[in-house]
Amino acid sequence: MRSAAEIAHDVTSGASSAVSEVTQSLAVIRARNEELNVFLYVDEDGAMASARRVDERLAAGEDVGPLAGVPVALKDNLCQVGVPTTAGSRILQGWLPPYNATVIDRVLAAGAVPMGKTNMDEFAMGSSTETSAYGPTRNPLDPSRVPGGSSGGSAAAVAAGMTPIALGSDTGGSIRQPAALCGLVGVKPTYGLVSRYGLIAFASSLDQIGPFAKNVTDAAMLLEAIAGHDPMDSTSLPEPSPSLVAHLGDGVAGKRFGLVRELVEGADDDVVASVTRAADALRDAGATIVELSVPEFRLGLSAYYLLAPAEASSNLARYDGVRYGLRVDGEDVAAMNEATRTAGFGAEVKRRIMLGTYALSAGYYDAYYGQALKVRTQMINAFQRAYQEADLLLGATTPSVAFKFGAKTSNPMAMYLSDVFTIPTNLAGEAAISVPFGTGEGGLPVGVQLLGPGRSEAQLFAASRVLEVADGRS
């Protein structure tokens, strides 16, 4: 699969057509989806119809957009009109949204072609895509291993060459971690940069939609297409989409990168080695590396595993069998609610709903949820202090390369620990990118993470580009 930039160029120039690109994408999907379980729904008819429309408009001389004819995979928590959207859960099996998520409208407006909905951990709760009610997704680079989660399907779609780009969502690392495990670029944008309207909510104050791509340029193009103010989302930042592609060549000369101890400690040796070499590469490109310690980051995991489940317990209350989705009958409506939710939710979702309900309940609110909110303020302040010493921060994305299926499922805490490097960014609402850099155990890819203050995407992308070149992949 060629890059999105190349495809868009060829389709716009007439060297290729949207229909032919989509046909190729469908062929790859057909060839590997059964083995890898990437797509829960392949929208063949919809994709071909969109592709034909793109080609017609181009033939009529219209400007179709910067992603003309580019196939894109969408995580199954993004609502798309008339397309089955399950959030990886039985409770939404067969549900057809009557509206599009804003990002889908924007992706369409950019000329891209949605190919279907990708597998994910149920309601985005997980780090391996093993909690999906529809079976796990396999890592295309090594099918005995997980692709990461919760956006495992979207990562796998790109890694398997089914589509050059994909959209996922990141609440505690759910884009960056799968990107790292699958050798991709994955971005968690500044909170509010991308509209959440139409994203099936997990944790409202942490969720953000972001791009997956094989290279930095494609990721920048996709983020530009979806970012910018949306009046349908009250938490959406007021400004329009930032210019990113134009700044890809800005370089890092004179920039200070904070290498944060707490974003590396506990990681496997091969991961640490990649981070060290990435620091070297930045130094070679003219940046200064500063060693920093941000001890507050250590509180992130605890705060996250109170805040996120608390919000989720409320966001998931609506799945009660009354208006849509699964209904299991009961002798009265409360019994029906209970029977429906018990049958429709998997164990991890139930765990988090109960944890969240507990953290919010009378008598425990102050100690748990209330405290976690304050820790979040601490996190924001800690980042601010760090950004007085450095322009951007550097660390690992995830403690290890892709792990084997079942390696972390027996103990929920073990799985939660995979998010330790990614969580702080979500708590503070800031931006971060995972960029592939080197390989580790078994030749599997390692991702390194660049973190920046809110609205610093242009700088992050420029630095990512430097690493991409240094890694020899471009």
Partner: protein, 100 residues
């Protein structure tokens, strides 16, 4: 605040969340959730009295919209999603008790 999570707490919380658990699940969840909360005790123990919760990370305020009509969904579309519908309304089994 390091008291372990008790079985009754989990049972109560499950009821609040409209989830029914088997005896096994109750035990299993009590243990698993207990572990997470143990871990969370590190922040429960912090003195953060002077710290204020943050609303929006970038201080957004007063986001409002004008009182202008937008198109609603068609009723057919809305009811097509319903597990059970009658007379243009969503049908549910009997409701025990008035709204709180």
């Amino acid at each position: 605040m390091s008291s372990p999570l008790r079985r009754e707490d989990v049972a109560k919380v499950a009821k609040l969340a409209r989830l029914s658990l088997s005896a096994e699940e109750l035990d299993q969840f009590t243990e698993q959730l207990g572990q997470v909360l143990e871990h969370a005790n590190d922040i429960a123990a912090l003195n953060l009295d002077d710290v204020v919760a943050t609303a929006h990370p970038f201080g957004l305020i007063n986001v409002v919209r004008e009182d202008v009509l937008r198109e609603s969904l068609s009723r057919d579309v809305v009811l097509a999603m319903a597990p059970d519908a009658q007379d243009g309304r969503f049908a549910v089994p009997r409701i025990m008790g008035e709204a709180p």
